[in-house]
Symmetry: C2
Subunit: 407 residues, 2 copies
Amino acid sequence: MRVEIINTGTELLLGRVTNTHLAFLAQSLLGIGLRVERQVTVPDGVAIAEAIETAMARAEIILITGGLGPTTDDITREAVAETFGRKLEFHQDILEDIAGKFAQRKLAVTDMQRQQAMVPEGGTVLPNPNGTAPGFIVENDKNVAIVLPGPPRELRPMWTDTAVPWLRQRFAGRLPPVHEMTLRLIGTGESKVQPLIEPGVHAFDPIEVGYCARPGEVDLRLIAPDEARLAKAVALARERLAAHIYAEGTETMEQAVVRLARAAKKMIATAESCTGGEVASRITDVPHSSEIFNYGWVTYANLSKMSELGVPANLLETHGAVSAEVAAAMAEGALQRSGADVAVSVTGIAGPTGGTPEKPVGLVCFGLAVKGGKTATHQRNLSAERTTFKAMAAQLALDLVRRALIA
Amino acid sequence: MRVEIINTGTELLLGRVTNTHLAFLAQSLLGIGLRVERQVTVPDGVAIAEAIETAMARAEIILITGGLGPTTDDITREAVAETFGRKLEFHQDILEDIAGKFAQRKLAVTDMQRQQAMVPEGGTVLPNPNGTAPGFIVENDKNVAIVLPGPPRELRPMWTDTAVPWLRQRFAGRLPPVHEMTLRLIGTGESKVQPLIEPGVHAFDPIEVGYCARPGEVDLRLIAPDEARLAKAVALARERLAAHIYAEGTETMEQAVVRLARAAKKMIATAESCTGGEVASRITDVPHSSEIFNYGWVTYANLSKMSELGVPANLLETHGAVSAEVAAAMAEGALQRSGADVAVSVTGIAGPTGGTPEKPVGLVCFGLAVKGGKTATHQRNLSAERTTFKAMAAQLALDLVRRALIA
């Protein structure tokens, strides 16, 4: 079964908003055994009907987003009705629903809203609890068109709560079973992972292998038609990549750290120089992180490293702020002041200036202090522009904490 | 002149990554008087050549992203060569450049990299200082194809530094003059801004007005065919929206803060609870922020607020951690300990749990302490999920610093 997505909206083609619909819908479709073959963005206007016709010739299922608003350039309803050869029908119950929502906001219903109560004849209405215009589904003997509103906070619940169940029921028995697992890897890359697992997992074919690379990281996705094959492929990948796997599925590094720390009832502290608070910020992105994180320092100067974390002045003089010695002292200072169980420190040269031949831009030192343990230090050279450097260094710092928690 | 964009990459259609190319390229194109008429995402494979052919029939300029990597599914080079009827030529200098980059990373060049040194004959090479494969431009008497690498950190500088200047020169005199200005507004929304400026600026028509809304913010973009009209429209908008404008053009809030602080030679300090280090991290995203930022605290518990910032225990007991009183004490403690000129504090309830009827999730209090001045506090209720809440609260905290710096 072929799926195509048509995103309508001049604002997308002017670059005013980023299209987040494709990634959201594609991931969701994959979970029910459907793949997006093609996606197109067209401006509001006549291009919509033309895009629908082109897609109808290629794909059984067409998702169309946007253009359901009340203004004159919102013509998706008309375009779908035209391409499917249907009239638009007025739905009194939709108008009443809209009128109720408007009354709450003390607004009066006009002809513009009447327009939003029109649905191609024979269409299935998809209620919109988070906005005005409902979505709808129209089908003929060859094609299904699912029409969704443009705002993500309206589209997403409508899709998940009503469109997906409709698809599952409509195509029951025809959607292929999909079993998938993503292993998230750090400290390696696609070109290293591929030869390690690609001949091996294909012993359990049909196995599909996918990679999604980011700076310093790669996600490995394994897809199989049944649970048994997937389990074998995942077991092999886990065995060969164990040292690099930091999370599975959609879990992020910081979610893994918070989960592990909560389970172990360990408190974390952070002492950051070059990452400037990004490590702490990512930990606190995770709900309930307050159970495992109370103290973070951003010591962006020698003076603050000394006064807040007790880094000895002579260490800074002898080794410089970006050194294993200072990283160790920062982590130990954070551990001591916070009373935490694990403290991580980061100090490096984010650039664009500040590098020297001995200590170039991109150099970063990490310290990891553990209650009752020996402090460890690590050094890396991350060649990336400033914000990518920060993100990579923060990710590595979080990974050190993660490894300490599972050790 | 019509422009279409073809984004290649199965990972986009599987939803593994969000397509950020369209918004980036569209905004940039608008700045040189070009608009994207249509965008399509196709999987790696035969669909690429087909999409190029379709686009060539409709548009003069075609931008193609992705598929320049070293693996077998990277076939954009071949697809462009095929549709333009050109052979692929090997470029020794490209291979040498790649070999140099590989040598730095202690990697050996293989046939895979040789493949990346191929360019359709007659093509203009676009160097890639941030990656392996160069981009290229191919043209015939009707069409121009600009081929760019998929990773944003490679695509963006290549686009800005070489493709845009090439387009400007190639189509000199044919690109309509575009004069534009973006005013970035906080504390207001599109529906409030529109009636304030829309009848007014159209006195200087042709003026195009665009809005880009984000939670708690909106960018107002004014576009005119000449400098004089633009200046009048901008003057009117500045006058009517003065209190909300935090930056102009592409400057971010944190860039504005760092710029203002550097100019005024003022040091900033941060004391964060609910934002968890995000304010500090955003300040330190900006190059040279070390000149104006040395001290940041993440005090995510009562104990750390007391021990690190000297917040009195009785304030925490009487008013609670999320209160104007504690926000003020945090900011004052940060100012004192850091010796900075301006200190900002944030304390709030990020959720999803921790709210009460009196202090619901989303409540946030800010403190602003200024050397030799009176400490101010502010309170807001931001109803948004956790990470959006954090981002909005961090933005408001930075805006308080910005206002203090220009006061």
